[in-house]
């Protein structure tokens, strides 16, 4: 803290009271550099401690320090402006996360379909090849077994059993090969794209969470400065089911609501009376 105060002092200009008087200055505001240094230091310390506790990014720590400093200086309007900026930033981030999550889901679906197609194509070819080899082997076996009719009947059964077992083995081998390809071999373009998207969504989500946390702190700071009084209601209420004249009140409230809804519709249909004229084309 003392070092910070010393730094501020080293950046200040020295003048004398006489010099100020000569310049026509009659009164001055005195700023205690030590107090200012302490304020900055405390704000930084609090923000860093909080950022470290939640594993926040450097931007989060900087944002937190700004909020903390404004709060300690009692800058209500600055906090309000900062809150508005954070709110806008948060909305933009939420929108980006939404878009990217959609793209990611679509890409995953496309990749799964494409892999399914590849797998199916590979299996069809292999099956045909297997059938060919099996057919040739068994044909040869049939030739050799013509002298023994009982063996010829067994060969048909053996052919079906053998084919099923070989197909099973083939499927297992293909399934085992797929993850090996992902882990060992260099990733294909689709995998890279997916990976990038997933990382981007994770990063944006983290930013969004940090932005929400900063906004909550800003609002808390504003409320504290304004001496805000919390409402007794945590959530929206509505008429209690056991209210006196419950039915009559419900119909009155419904009528008020409908009237206001109608008013909104009328407002939306009306041209804005305070809008600027439409320029060249207007008469």
């Amino acid at each position: 803290m003392h070092r910070l105060a010393g730094l501020f002092r080293s950046k200040s200009n020295l003048t004398s009271l006489k010099q100020l008087e000569r310049e026509g200055v009659r009164s001055v505001n005195v700023l205690d550099i030590g107090r200012l240094g302490a304020l900055v230091g405390e704000a930084m310390e609090t923000a860093l401690r909080e950022a470290l506790a939640v594993g926040g990014s450097a931007e989060f720590a900087v944002g937190g320090a700004q909020v903390e400093f404004m709060r300690r200086l009692g800058l209500g309007q600055r906090l309000a402006d900062h809150g508005a900026e954070l709110e806008a930033q948060q909305n933009a981030l939420a929108s980006q996360v939404g878009t990217l999550t959609g793209v990611l889901a679509q890409s995953r679906e496309q990749l799964a379909l494409s892999r399914e197609r590849d797998h199916s194509a590979a299996t069809t070819g292999l099956r045909a090849q297997l059938d060919l080899v099996l057919g040739q082997t068994l044909a040869r076996l049939e030739q050799l077994a013509t002298s023994t009719p009982s063996v010829a009947a067994e060969i048909g059964t053996l052919r079906r059993t053998l084919r099923a077992a070989l197909l099973e083995l083939l499927d297992e081998a293909l399934c085992a090969a797929a993850p090996m390809r992902v882990a060992g071999a260099p990733a294909d373009a689709n995998d890279t794209k997916l990976d990038l998207l997933e990382r981007r969504v994770r990063k944006l989500n983290a930013q969004l969470l940090e932005s929400q946390e900063l906004l909550a702190r800003t609002r808390a700071g504003q409320s504290e400065l304004q001496g805000a009084v919390p409402s007794i209601h945590r959530v929206a209420q509505g008429l209690r089911s056991d209210a006196t004249d419950g039915q009559a009140k419900r119909s009155l409230l419904q009528a008020i609501f409908e009237h206001n809804l109608e008013l909104r519709r009328t407002l939306a249909d009306q041209p804005d009376p305070h809008a600027a004229p439409t320029g060249a084309g207007s008469k």
Partner: protein, 357 residues
């Protein structure tokens, strides 16, 4: 005039819901909120005329009595007249319309800030307007309130007074404000246009009448409308028996004492005939089986209800013209409308608020 502040941004993770009832009155604006805060401010707004005034006043905008006290250094606005935003009935081409709308928005923003809401709470507000307010006037009120709350609904002012007191059937509410006197008969369902009457004979009319009478009576005295308002707020009465009302008015700069009780009574009485006519009209056109109940449940609210002897005078007039009548004054005339609006806000189902937000 200062720039319009940015509209309120809806909190994404609200920590609570603050309900507010707002009585946006010609003379006073009152708020009652679900955090227990109730505040009232005179409906005046002022912007420093120049940099000198701004430097002296150290503010961009002043409200209420502070604005009134410094009005000579300000572009001074009384944004409402006759219970509605001034110039809001035109097509918007009048440049004053925009200025008055801005002043109203600033006044509402200030009134809401008096309720000390938390930044991260949703604000749902119900605003009272005169009983026979036009659609354009209502739209202007919505337009003024919308940027500073998360959701807003408009209700007729006398209706909100009745709702606040749980008097929903066979009751006649009279709300005497500065700009208008609103009457509304309640019969268990939503009052229609036929159930409501608005007259311009209210507090401002009394002020104007009194000013004219005093000018005649107190020859040579310099009298402002503000002096007249102060005088009325302290001594207003309509009864037969009266104490002397002595007031010091400057004549050629020198305070001079005048006795003005007769003028004060005459001015206060000037709003009674139209009120009695409206009571008569609403009772006579009501279902005959329920007229007697209505006559015996007349509720008097609003700042004007504080006039000494008014309740008794209305009862006498009603007995004469309608055979009977019983009038009761509400306990809190300043907050009657705001309290009722707050109750409506609280009872309104949450999904309705979402739909009009």
């Amino acid at each position: 005039m200062s720039e319009t502040p940015s509209p309120r941004l809806r909190p994404t993770n609200p920590s609570g819901v603050l309900y507010m009832g707002i009585d946006l009155g010609t003379s006073r604006t009152s708020v009652a909120a679900s955090n227990g805060v109730r505040e009232s401010v005179a409906s005046y707004v002022g912007y420093p005329k120049d940099v000198v005034a701004k430097k002296a006043l150290k503010k961009d905008v002043l409200f209420g009595d502070e604005a009134l006290g410094n009005r000579l250094a300000l572009d001074f606005y009384r944004p409402l007249a006759g219970g509605v935003i001034q110039h809001s009935d035109g097509d918007g081409s009048n440049p004053d319309a925009k200025r008055f709308l801005k002043a109203t928005q600033d006044l509402i923003r200030h009134a809401i800030s008096l309720a000390r809401p938390k930044q991260d709470e949703l604000i749902y507000a119900v605003v009272g307007c005169p009983a026979q307010c036009s659609l354009r006037n209502k739209s202007s009120i919505v337009e003024a309130v919308r940027p500073v709350v998360d959701s807003v609904m408009i209700v007729s002012e006398p209706f909100s007074v009745a709702y606040g007191l749980d008097l929903l059937t066979d009751c006649l509410v009279i709300d005497i404000g500065a700009g208008t006197t609103d009457l509304c008969r309640m019969h268990g369902t939503m009052p229609t246009a036929d159930d409501q009457v608005t007259t311009p004979f209210a507090g401002d009319h009394v002020d104007q009448t009194l000013l004219e009478l005093l000018k005649k009576k107190c020859v040579g005295a310099a009298i402002s409308i503000q002096m007249v308002k102060d005088l009325k707020e302290k001594f207003s009465f309509v009864g037969e028996k009266r104490d002397p009302v002595a007031v010091d008015l400057p004549v050629n700069g020198k305070p001079t004492r005048f006795e003005v009780a007769a003028e004060l009574r005459e001015a206060c009485r000037s709003i009674v005939p139209s009120m009695v006519d409206a009571i008569h009209q609403l009772i006579a056109s009501f279902d005959p089986d329920f007229q007697s109940r209505l006559k015996n449940h007349v509720l008097l609210g609003g700042g004007g209800s504080q006039m000494g002897g008014l309740r008794e005078m209305l009862e006498v007039e009603m007995r004469e013209r309608l055979g009977e009548g019983r009038v009761v004054r509400v306990d809190e005339p300043t907050y009657g409308g705001a309290n009722g609006a707050l109750k409506i806000a609280h009872d309104m189902p949450p999904e309705f608020w979402e739909k009009v937000s």
